[in-house]
């Protein structure tokens, strides 16, 4: 990617942001590329609980979602966000091959990994995600960028859902990350 000149470059190492310490943003970088677009790089660390790991080993597909929003500061809540991205990854274990598959429905891609940690590292990596063109923003305004990552309970099999809503072992979410910037 063309990011030789970074007008806005933020490299943040974030530790212990999650309530459960199982999900956390390790790195978030927002850059302005040469093509005058704003890009996002991030590293989300996923540690699975025993319950989730056990479900994964037993063939239950687990879906993780990373939500990226960018909106003007002090704007009415009903106004549309300038940017809204939902990155979904489905993680599942294939018993026959003994591999962990990461399916990204957005890009219709499928990756297989020998270990769960490799698969989690893959799905926690966001590279060169184009958020918005700079010319699409109001340059006089401040914008709030907000990142959230969580395990999507609604995507679990129905019988597991009630337990997932009530059990802390299934409550995998990261404290939202927020940053104000002026393009």
């Amino acid at each position: 990617m063309f990011k030789s000149i970074a007008l806005i470059s933020l490299v943040l190492l974030i530790g212990g942001a999650s309530a459960s310490n199982l999900l956390r943003f390790n790195q978030v970088v927002i850059t302005l590329g040469e093509d005058d677009n704003i890009y996002l790089d991030a590293l989300v660390s996923y540690d699975l609980t025993d319950a989730v790991m056990q479900a994964l080993q037993n063939g239950v597909a687990v879906t993780f979602e990373t939500r990226i929003r960018m909106r003007e500061v002090d704007i009415w809540f009903w106004r549309q966000d300038a940017v809204e991205h939902r990155l979904r990854h489905i993680l599942r274990y294939r018993a026959l091959s003994g591999l962990y598959e990461v399916i990204t429905p957005e890009s219709a891609s499928k990756q297989a990994f020998a270990t769960s940690s490799a698969a989690l590292r893959y799905l926690g990596r966001i590279r060169d995600l184009k958020l918005i063109g700079r010319n699409q923003l109001d340059l006089g305004q401040h914008y709030l960028v907000r990142l959230e990552a969580y395990l999507d309970v609604e995507a679990l099999p129905l019988p597991l859902r009630v337990r997932a809503y009530t059990s802390p072992e299934w409550s995998l979410t990261v404290e939202p990350w927020e940053w104000r910037l002026k393009p």
Binding site: Q54, A55, N58, G59, V60, R94, A95, L96, S97, L99, E101, A108, S109, K110, A112, F113, A114, T115, A118, E154, P157, L158, P159, L160, R161, V162, R163, Y165
Partner: protein, 732 residues
């Protein structure tokens, strides 16, 4: 008839509110049923209502909580009514307990067995043999694929080893040949860092080799070959092999082989079945929990709907009974206008309520008629009381046992006794405090042969004089039980008799005066003429006889004249010249005439400021007569006369009393009642008109006079009572 319209309106509003509440709860139950049905559908066909499960669950739990609140509120209200002993609450509680018990027992049994069947049914999906078969199938697939992988890895290694040329360029040129001969999808040469050197792909458009993963490169770095099954986007399996060059050319040969469609399809199906089975086995408890939870929600909905229905039904059943109970209580408290609201259902309870209302209407009508009769009776009674009260005659009603029932005010006035205090007592009881009424009681007493239907005159000897009553008794016959009572009618004719007697005596006196006075003057003149003509011509002896005889005649004629004059005074009609005077002062003036003489008279005035209206001339005559009478009673005896005044209460009025007490012989008890009658005297001299004139003058003044002997038996006492004109507060 007055209908309790307000209560009926309130009852109608309450029924309307109940109906609205019933529809609201029914709607809630229907919504909950629909929600539970959709939840059940979501559990069974998760693809359709998958995302609606949690909202439906929240709605159902909220709705159930609402239903529980409604039932709890109904229970609280029922227990509150029970504690307050509100009518119908006991029966209501028993009915609710019965309905709840009847619904709880079978539902609980069905619930427990359903849970058991459900758990067993879900457990039945999983079996040790099925587990084993699934594991075996997977192992078989793995073995088959491992064999296939090993063959492909061996092939890859042999392909690399078969290239004897050490030139990389020669290897690159042979790649297409190698790919075609091995049947691979892609064959590529990589350097030891994993970067592509050359590639041959069955798709000529692919010019870049598939990059190896870190894991692959780690294994290659340890001089080990790598082989793995990799799924494609189209869910096909491919075998990916990486073989390091053993001839120190620093190359890695990567080959990607397709797995045969049959093997791929079969193994994929085995994998899918196995994974589905594993997932289901893993979710076994969750599935059980979901079904049990849904079933529990259904059970709770059913139970609480049944509880609510029990409350509602029992309330509806008990309401008419409670209304009737309250109605009977209202009747017991005298409220006959109570009308109960008719229940909607035309059943036996409705008939009962209708009959109760009809009964109440009739009772109310009867009570109104009774009230009208009672009012009429009261009016008649009041009219009769008014008539009797207006009568001057005394009327007393006795029952057949001669128990006093009632008496009019005139009776009390005549008998001077509060007869109301004697109501319910025998007629004889009047004598207990008034012995002087003995002749009156005996007159009406049938046992002692008293008066039946005739009139009789009864004389009562009171302390203050005689009282003459004219009495008549009438029996009240009844066609059924004979005599039901008696009515006594009596009049005080004392004054009338006295007046008649006075009139008769007045007439006698007038006639006597007229008949006697006329010949007296000629007798006197004749006696004086005989005396004058013949006294000088007679011998001294004869003259002496004549002188004494004529002197006697003239003296007696004078005495007769004086007596005739007194008769005239008594008979003469009186014309009073009354004026208000202070009683004490007036009597002092009369008393002063006697003061200084040896008359032994004391005066003790005690009516200061009391003013009476009297004719001074006539009242002086009264006082002179009384003093003279007392002086005559004391003639030849030791003793004194005491004249006194004071203010007394006589019956209901204040009276001015003049009392004259002497220490004489007193009145003969036999003649005491007639002391004020003309010609009633025990003295040798006198006309017997002194006290009669006193009584006449006092009567003309509207007062009364009576005589009695002193209680100590030492003389007599005469009491005059006059009407008080005013009481003046005197200075000092």
């Amino acid at each position: 008839m007055v209908i309790d319209g307000g209560a009926l309106g309130v009852a109608a509003q309450a029924m309307k509110a109940q109906r609205i509440g019933m529809f609201a709860v029914l709607l809630l139950v229907l919504l909950l049923l629909a929600s539970l049905h959709m939840m059940s559908e979501a559990v069974q066909r998760s693809d359709v209502l998958d995302t609606w499960f949690i909202p439906l669950l929240l709605f159902t739990v909220t709705g159930l909580a609402l239903l529980v609140l409604v039932v709890g509120w109904s229970l609280w209200r029922l227990l509150r009514d029970y504690r307050r002993h509100i009518s119908g609450s006991h029966l209501n509680l028993r009915l609710v307990a019965l309905f709840v018990g009847l619904s709880l027992a079978p539902v609980s049994v069905v619930y427990l067995y359903s849970l058991q069947f459900l758990a067993k049914g879900i457990d039945g999906w999983f079996d040790v043999q099925v587990d084993s078969a699934m594991e075996d199938a997977l192992s078989l697939s793995k073995v088959s694929l491992d064999l296939h992988k090993r063959e492909r890895l061996t092939l890859t290694q042999s392909l690399l080893n078969s290239q004897e040329d050490s030139s990389v360029t020669a290897l690159m040129l042979n790649l297409s040949e190698l790919r075609e001969s091995s049947g691979a999808i892609e064959i590529s040469l990589l350097d030891m860092q994993g970067k592509g050197v050359a590639v041959s792909h069955q798709n000529p458009e692919v010019l870049v080799p598939t990059p190896p993963t870190e894991h692959m490169m780690q294994q290659i770095s340890m001089r080990k070959s790598f082989v793995s099954l990799v799924p494609t986007l189209s869910n096909q399996l491919v075998v990916r092999c990486l073989a390091p060059d053993t001839k120190s050319r620093g190359l890695i040969l990567q080959a990607i082989y397709p797995v045969s469609e049959s093997l791929s399809g079969l193994t994929t199906q085995v994998q899918s079945a196995y994974e589905a089975y594993r997932e289901r086995a893993y979710l076994r408890d969750s599935i059980k929990f979901s079904f049990a939870f849904t079933l529990s929600l259904v059970l709770m909905l059913g139970l609480f709907a049944a509880f609510w229905a029990a409350f509602y039904t029992s309330r509806q059943l008990v309401k008419p009974i409670r209304d009737i109970s309250e109605g009977t209580r209202a009747v017991a408290q005298g409220n006959y206008d109570k009308q109960l609201p008719l229940p909607a259902a035309k059943d036996e309870l409705g008939f009962l309520v209708d009959s109760f209302n009809e009964m109440m209407r009739r009772i109310s009508q009867a009570r109104n008629q009774a009230d009208a009769s009672r009012r009429e009776l009261q009016a008649q009674h009041k009219y009769l009381e008014t008539v009797l009260g207006a009568l001057s005659s005394g009327v007393m009603a006795l029952d057949r046992l001669e128990i006093i029932q009632t008496a009019n005010p005139a009776a009390e006035k005549i008998l001077q006794l509060p007869i109301k205090d004697y109501q319910g007592r025998a007629l004889k009881s009047l004598m207990e405090n008034a012995p002087y009424l003995s002749p009156f009681v005996k007159c009406f007493d049938t046992e002692s042969g008293g008066l039946l239907e005739e009139q009789a005159e009864v004389t009562l000897r009171r302390a203050n004089g005689r009282q003459i009553l004219l009495c008549q008794r009438s029996s009240l016959p009844s066609p059924d039980i004979g005599i039901v009572g008696h009515v006594l009618v009596f009049d005080d004719v004392t004054e009338l008799v006295s007046a008649q007697r006075d009139a008769a005596w007045g007439e006698v006196a007038r006639r006597l005066a007229h008949e006697i006075k006329n010949p007296l003057t000629p007798i006197q003149l004749a006696a004086e003429r005989v005396r004058r003509k013949y006294l000088g011509h007679m011998s001294s002896e004869q003259a002496d006889v004549l002188d004494r005889a004529t002197h006697t005649i003239i003296q007696q004629v004078e005495a007769l004249k004086m007596m005739v004059n007194e008769f005239s005074d008594y008979a003469r009609p009186c014309r009073l010249a009354s004026k208000p005077v202070l009683l004490d002062k007036f009597i002092r003036e009369v008393f002063d005439l006697y003061e200084g003489s040896n008359n032994r008279i004391d005066y003790r005035p005690d009516a200061a400021g009391v003013q009476v209206e009297l004719d001074p001339v006539r009242m002086r005559q009264v006082l002179h007569n009384l003093i003279k009478n007392a002086q005559e009673a004391l003639s030849g005896r030791q003793g004194r006369i005491c004249l006194s005044t004071r203010l007394v209460r006589h019956q209901t009025h204040q009276k001015a009393q003049i009392q004259l007490v002497d220490d004489g012989m007193g009145f003969d008890p036999e003649l005491l009642d007639r002391a004020f009658e003309p010609y009633m005297t025990t003295k040798s001299k006198g006309t017997g008109l002194g006290l009669a004139i006193v009584k006449r003058i006092i009567s003309e003044h509207g007062g009364s006079v009576y005589a009695e002997n002193r209680a100590d038996g030492r003389g007599a006492k005469i009491v005059v009572l006059l009407t008080v004109h005013a009481i003046i507060k005197l200075a000092g």
